[in-house]
Symmetry: C2
Subunit: 654 residues, 2 copies
């Protein structure tokens, strides 16, 4: 019984701390925390092999707290253990006093788990529900490929399990037989507003997991021995290739009847209610009155880690790559789609950097990440996520936490299915690369259900924000040709942080060459004029190119800028605008709030008296059989652009 | 055998048409269509009760084609039946010639299902995968409450079933015992890039559905009698309260071996390959050589429809509502959170308009939609969707297609989990209302995992676009006080189209009264000055209010505008800017690309020499214990605003 009593005693000690820290903060989720007291104690004080002094130690087992609001129980344990906390490399031992700072503006203890705010024990920021199991799967994939004997535990709320992403993660774990990750469902029966649905009851969750091929331990989540036995079964891998899960029956507000049932989600008791909760906890009778030191609560260290050598060499250029991979005809043709240049760059990157991974959502033959997948030297770093984008982005966040460089590609239209997952990845400091193909309207025939149109505005918003490293929270890249797409894929891999690149479906002519230089934050002047500054990017660079002669015949000497990156060098762009009489025409084949607004923000910030005409997709588009038809339908055909440009200068285009 | 032969004959006839229309269009998904020939024939020519001449007839059974890319098979059937197609009320009979226009810019036959582009047979635009079953559930909820004996069929691809939203829809159907909707899983074994995962095999899908409480018919999807029997079991409701599903084993490219297996997704055969496919279809031997007319293929009409009377009366004002619902104390206090005003308005709306529905994601006690839920007269129009936002928005799209006015509310942070679902709802012409609470940073303590920060940029993008009715594709509303939130909730209900309203957590002082008027597209001048135009919205209106006196002491006479709606009256705003020396300061507590960029777009479009300073959240925030701390942390405290404003005019604020 020593283990049993020791766990209860420690759990109750941690529960008391949870109540006090939440009461002090005036908010938080003590009742959710109390439902996890025994589970977290068994994990952190017994089953997990880790080093409280070295929270990021590579071979340490990891815990992803998907239901991030229950974080007080983790804070309590790490304060009790004096674990190391802090930002970057400035770590120090955590103390009980830290708990009193919970949720303060300058505290390392954020309201929800946040590695970038000073809590390195965690690999990802959580709190928006449903992401954690996917992150854990990403960590598990990396550990397995690196040959690390590391186990990943993930705690998911029962109400949280309703998020479809959890089902996506379960399928992903089964597809990739990730027996080194253990989902633990905390079935306390209560969500925020009401009881959890019968569809997420312990019985139904068990049946669903078994239907998905999992071996499930239906366990009393407050019985230390039962919890240990369930974890041991996972640790000893008693189910072989069959992934395992724990369905833990728990009580929200365990040990404090006055806080149980509905109505106590996210509310800390204070005053007499707090005193009563403390009394009740002491009266549970299962724990001893003082924390007892027992070998049963010994924390075992992880295996010694010897860093694997990451091979990185200089990547070859586009022409050389096209020759090497039998694309000489395409090279000679002078046309190559940006999505293909991305696929080629990804394959080359895979060979020069063994940390590069490629993730797909069953469209690898459209995004051309298949060139990475079909290369037998790289196949083990290609992850097919099937048609489940949310899981794909969170898996990438987990891979990044393990030091990998994940490239996620699908149609730009489907990238926005993962907005929340991408946001949490950015908040986690993830080194995530996202590539959306078939962006804008140039795919034509399939229509708006496959076109990415408001995506640019959302990602542009991130270019206005600084991440925890002081960089733009995301770089948005829109290459106009294969040379640009190839080079910018390399730039993405070099940058530590989030990037989003938009590629297009059609083959487009080369407008650059090997000597062309592309930098994050840069722009390219393709033609220098003095009457009008045309600013565009991606596919529309080619459409704008077609109007220059027409404008020239109309006596208009235009400057054409390829604004391939957001954010960009504003000084440079404003100078160009000045040299062009302050007349700016922006052209993009997506909805508003993107490139044109970025230019408008820069101009108004400068206070210059420039006029900007924005051309973009102003009505919901439909199918058209080819690019010319869809461009005309949306008023973005080169003849529309020429007319608009001429009109700005009061002349009529020929 | 008459039925069997008749169905095969008709199916093969439709299959031939699919091959030809896709070959003509040069794109499309004939092989997916061929996997559905027999299923669609049994549905449209036998099991479904509908009127080809009246595709929107209220009591007609409905078909939601979730795997929208298979739409050629539906186009073929409706052309064969001469069903009515067209935009709005301008309907005409469809002919075989229409098929030849597939995917043309001026065709009524879009690449994927689109009711707004001229195909009223469909209730929702599909093509982005995973949405359809949720839409079908929404239609089913409306039919049941309206007492219509109507059945909803939904065809979902096996690869598509990987999308977590499908699991969310399955749980929703079970929670609400929607026995009037039938999910049909088309298990042809192939996705786009590869074979479907074993996790979506007929056996595993069946096991998962049964675990979720469904009764499943595992059926040969090319055996007419087996298909009919499965549908009859649903029609006769043989499983009582247990929802039913069909798992149909099909062949992608059925009848044309040369098109089967991988590599043919989305590719139409042409030339010899097309001829071969036609030959193979004729050689299947299961069909007769010419379409035979048989009573077995008789289409049965729906029940006569007598329109239910929708009660609508004039809603009472905010003070009256607060008195009626025992909130006199709050009324007297002069403070009331905008999220509470929304909850109250929603409850009042529910009483004056019987078409109003409220949907929640387990946060009704935070968004205050619980005031609608807890009103016994309204409870049957409240839909608890639990923690599954994607399903919630698509269910709302289905409700809208049935003529309802759905209000979906959750935290603004979680609204963006449904970006793709909201986009497809807008493309469907859905009359959807979305309310995101806890927007911006004012919720403070819970931190960024609960704050909506880039959401405004994404929704703002929609305000730059026209929907199919010629209106802004979405109105974005940011009420500053309870009167505004209450009135704008009423405006949302009156408008036919999408609206997004952002509410905030804290109680805020009343700044308006019953006489105040709020219009979609409007703005309010709170203070008239001549030196500086401060433009803001929502919570930040109160923070900006605090700086006016400080500025006045510094000799700055500022104008304060509450820009509560996007898009807005640009002329009016530009005039105000002119009256204030062209000095504009925008203030918002979210990331960039929102309100400030909207003003910048308007100014640069006018060509006026105005200077705009934008204040917004420029770094990823964290937790803080109260509003003052988080505002200081983000540089948006009223003292920061005063300093910035004074700086713009070259004076130092007191």
């Amino acid at each position: 019984m020593a283990f049993d009593a020791a766990v209860h005693t420690k759990a109750i000690q941690l529960d008391h701390m949870c109540l006090d820290m939440c009461a002090g903060a005036g908010s938080g989720h003590p009742t959710s925390a109390l439902s996890l007291g025994q589970i977290v104690t068994v994990l952190l004080y017994h089953s997990m092999r880790w080093l409280p002094d070295h929270p990021r130690y590579p071979t340490s087992d990891r815990l992803v707290l998907s239901e991030g609001h229950a974080v007080p129980i983790i804070y309590a344990a790490l304060a009790d253990l004096g674990a190391a906390i802090g930002k970057g490399d400035e770590l120090r031992r955590m103390t009980a006093d830290d708990l009193l700072t919970l949720r303060e503006a300058d505290s390392l203890l954020d309201g929800h788990p946040s590695p970038m705010e000073g809590f390195p024990f965690f690999d990802a920021a959580t709190g928006s529900l449903g992401h954690g199991l996917s992150v854990a799967a990403g960590l598990a994939v990396a550990a397995r490929r690196d040959g690390l004997e590391k186990r990943i535990y993930c705690i998911i709320g029962d109400g949280e399990a309703r998020e479809g992403q959890v089902a996506e993660a379960i399928d992903f774990i089964a597809d990739h037989t990730l027996t080194n990750v253990l989902p633990i469902f905390n079935c306390n029966g209560y969500g925020q507003a009401d009881k959890v649905s019968p569809q997420q009851s312990p019985e139904t969750l068990t049946a669903k997991l078994e239907a998905a091929g999992f071996s499930v331990s239906d366990t009393d989540g407050h019985d230390p021995d039962a919890i240990r036995d369930a974890f041991d079964r996972f640790i000893k891998n008693q189910d072989g290739d069959r992934p395992m899960a724990v369905v833990a029956r728990t009580v929200k507000g365990w040990g404090a009847p006055s806080l149980q049932g509905g109505g106590w989600h996210g509310k800390p008791p204070t005053g007499d209610l707090l005193a009563k909760a403390h009394e009740d906890l002491n009266a549970t009778g299962v724990g001893l009155t003082s924390a007892l030191v027992s070998d049963d609560l010994k924390i075992y260290p992880p295996a010694e880690h010897t860093p694997a050598d990451v091979s990185t060499t200089e990547p070859m250029g586009l022409p050389e790559a096209m020759k090497q991979y039998d694309m000489e005809q395409a090279l000679k043709s002078g046309k190559f789609a940006t999505r293909k240049a991305y696929g080629l760059a990804l394959r080359v990157l895979g060979h020069v950097n063994s940390d590069v991974y490629a993730l797909d959502g069953d469209v690898k033959n459209s995004t051309f990440s298949e060139w990475f997948a079909d290369d037998e030297d790289l196949a083990d770093r290609f992850l097919e996520c099937k048609i489940a984008e949310q899981n794909m982005f969170s898996v990438a966040s987990g891979l990044s936490a393990a030091g990998k460089i994940p490239f996620c590609s699908t149609f730009g239209k489907f990238v926005i299915r993962g907005c929340d997952q991408i946001e949490m990845a950015i908040n986690s400091g993830a080194n995530i690369k996202i590539v959306g193909s078939h962006s804008g309207i140039s795919l034509a025939a399939d229509g708006p259900s496959q076109m990415s149109l408001p995506d640019l505005a959302w990602f542009r918003s991130w270019t206005t924000v600084r991440d925890h490293r002081g960089n733009p929270a995301c770089y948005v890249l829109q290459p106009a040709d294969a040379y640009a797409a190839y080079a910018l894929t390399m730039r993405m891999a070099e940058h530590l942080g989030a990037c989003y690149m938009r590629t297009v479906r059609p083959d487009v002519e080369f407008i650059y060459n090997e000597a062309s230089v592309f930098d994050l934050g840069g722009l390219e002047v393709l033609t220098e004029g003095r009457d009008l500054l045309i600013v565009t990017a991606g596919y529309m660079v080619h459409e704008c190119n077609k109007v220059l002669d027409t404008l020239d015949r109309a006596g208009i000497d235009a400057t054409l800028v390829d604004l391939y990156c957001l954010p960009f060098d504003t000084e440079r762009l404003l100078d160009l605008a000045n040299e062009n009489g302050g007349n700016i025409l922006t052209v993009e084949d997506n909805y508003g709030g993107g490139l044109g607004s970025a230019v408008a923000d820069a101009v108004t910030d400068s206070g210059d008296a420039f006029t900007i005409e924005q051309m973009f997709v102003r009505k919901i588009p439909k199918s058209a059989r080819n690019e010319e038809d869809i461009l005309k339908l949306c008023g973005l055909h080169h003849t529309n652009i020429a007319r608009k440009a001429a009109g700005m200068l009061g002349v009529v285009a020929a």
